[in-house]
């Protein structure tokens, strides 16, 4: 098979490339700066914290780089430098090392870091964080599509959501890039296809129901599927193997749960976007899901 942790992580990085490229294309040096900050901070933090535990840091497994890139892609490009640094430090320290390092963490480190800065620096992370980056970005210069919808009832065209010329966090704007990278991951079997499938399925069902009940017009099902961090989250964040269930059944439950929570938060919560919270909440349920979905052994009852 020849698959090692390192090659898995390398595959993830390859899969992230489309998003990195689209981010650089749309956000220019904002993206470069944010990504570099996050990756550097993540590596540094990993090294520092493992050293504090009196162990040798193993940066070669690339897991810290992956966390850094995912974190960078999930932040707005215009967020100040300290946001990336603090997020990376929290991600590595509280999200990972304190649980014992790679493979032990309960929560997705990148999302722990992002949630922390999201709540801590709501000012620079919320709508106004997405400053116009002098670009050919559709409609709103100061709002992500979801923000625009939630607060002003504005709708971004589906084409923009698909290609990615909207505002938003670096990696999430282009649905196309997410799909490309995500499918690569699933085909390489680095990510389990059950999880994104579950997420998309339950989002589709609930968004459809919401549409029918007129809860979220003028956003349609397609907007919900393509908009925001849904695809990015479904393919790259939810599929983090460490923090998702082990068995196929568990992965379905996990994915569906994320989709349902995302829609609950999108429709009703004060936050425009719910992927991050949904992932964290389902992460916390993963041990229980694992417990409930112990597979029936071959020949067992």
């Amino acid at each position: 098979m020849g698959m090692t942790i390192q090659t898995m992580m390398r595959d993830v990085l390859i899969a992230l490339a489309p998003m990195v490229l689209s981010a650089i294309y749309f956000f220019h040096w904002y993206a470069v700066k944010q990504l570099l900050t996050c990756v550097a901070a993540a590596l540094l933090a990993e090294m520092l914290f493992t050293r504090m535990r009196g162990r040798k840091a193993n940066l070669g497994d690339l897991s810290a780089v992956v966390t850094g890139v995912i974190l960078g892609l999930s932040l707005p490009g215009t967020a100040p430098w300290y946001v990336g640094v603090i997020a990376a430090a929290i991600a590595m320290g509280i999200g990972k090392i304190v649980f014992g390092g790679l493979g032990m963490n309960i929560f997705n480190p990148a999302m722990v870091g992002r949630a922390f800065v999201m709540i801590a620096f709501a000012g620079s992370m919320a709508a106004s964080g997405y400053v116009a980056s002098r670009l050919n970005i559709d409609i709103m210069s100061q709002a992500t599509p979801l923000n625009a919808h939630k607060q002003l009832g504005a709708v971004v065209s589906l084409q923009s959501l698909f290609w990615g010329n909207t505002n938003g966090s670096l990696g999430e704007t282009s649905a196309l890039a997410c799909l490309l990278g995500g499918l690569f991951l699933c085909i390489r079997r680095v990510a389990s296809w059950e999880i994104p499938a579950g997420v998309l399925l339950s989002t589709f069902v609930i968004a459809g129901a919401a549409n029918l009940m007129n809860l979220s017009s003028p956003w349609t099902v397609a907007h919900h599927l393509l908009g925001g961090a849904l695809l990015f989250g479904a393919f790259f964040i939810a599929t983090d193997p460490v923090t998702s269930p082990l068995t196929p059944g568990g992965k379905w439950i996990f994915g569906m749960g994320i989709g349902a929570l995302v829609m609950l938060l999108r429709l009703f919560s004060g936050y425009p976007e719910g992927v991050m919270f949904a992932v964290l909440l389902m992460n916390s349920l993963t041990p229980l899901i694992n417990r409930l979905t112990i597979p029936r052994p071959f020949g067992g009852v």
Binding site: A122, G123, A126, A127, S128, Q142, Q151, L152, G270
Partner: protein, 228 residues
């Protein structure tokens, strides 16, 4: 606590009642003493607490009705009559605590206390109106638990001042960045929901009370405070 007033060692059942009470004599004595002390505390302190509660509102009244500067100068001859008003609606009736402000014998305006759901928890507002409820003379946030640094800014003077002088004829609306129309209020950066909660609360109160607030229909409890 699990052993409250009981004895785990078996006691001959005939004597249980006596034994229980006898054993608990210390508790009974303590109950006696503590009951008395607490009642005394209550009698002594409850008026002060009630006054605190009322003062919290009353202190703001001059500022809300007469403008910010007046708080410092303490205009004389200001009378505040607290009362409640009941607004009958389709659903459950609404009650408002209102304060009728009379300055030098002439009605100077109203202050209304209102509570509504904010982003985090309930928001408690005081809204000042002119005597015929055609304009807002000020608002004050009595209590809120919005996000510090964001939603909590609804309590900031700068943001509240936007409300002063707004006419009540049209409902206010929240915009992001650069209010232009007379009935528009700027949202607080990053806290649109909190801003909208406050504005919604103001709108609801205005709609409920506009035209209905006259000294005749308010049940005044008593005349409390005379500033002199």
């Amino acid at each position: 606590m699990e052993e409250i007033l009981t004895d785990n060692t078996p006691v001959p059942s005939g004597r249980i009642r006596n034994s229980n009470l006898a054993q608990a004599w210390l508790v009974l004595v303590l109950a006696l003493i503590i009951g008395a002390i607490l009642a005394a505390v209550q009698v002594r302190l409850s008026p002060i607490i009630a006054a605190n509660k009322l003062n919290e509102t009353l202190e703001k009244v001059p500022e809300l009705v007469l403008g910010a500067g007046s708080a410092a100068t303490r205009p004389s001859g200001l009378e505040v009559d607290p009362g409640t008003v009941k607004i009958e609606k389709d659903g459950p009736d609404s009650f408002y605590s209102v304060f009728h402000v009379v300055s030098k014998g002439a009605p100077a305006g109203w202050v209304v206390k209102t509570v509504g759901q904010g982003y985090g928890d309930k928001i408690e507002l005081l809204i000042g109106f002119n005597p015929d409820i055609t304009a807002i003379t000020g608002i004050f946030v009595l209590g809120q638990k919005e996000t510090p640094g964001l939603g909590a800014n609804i309590a900031s003077l700068k943001w509240r001042q936007q409300f002063i002088g707004k006419a009540t004829a049209r409902p206010l609306s929240v915009v992001k960045g650069g209010a232009s129309a007379p009935n528009e209020i700027d949202a607080i950066t990053g806290a649109t929901i909190s801003s909208r909660s406050v504005v919604g609360l103001v709108n609801r109160t205005t709609k409920d009370l506009a035209g209905k607030l006259a000294p005749e229909i308010v049940r005044f409890s008593r005349q409390v405070k005379k500033n002199d």
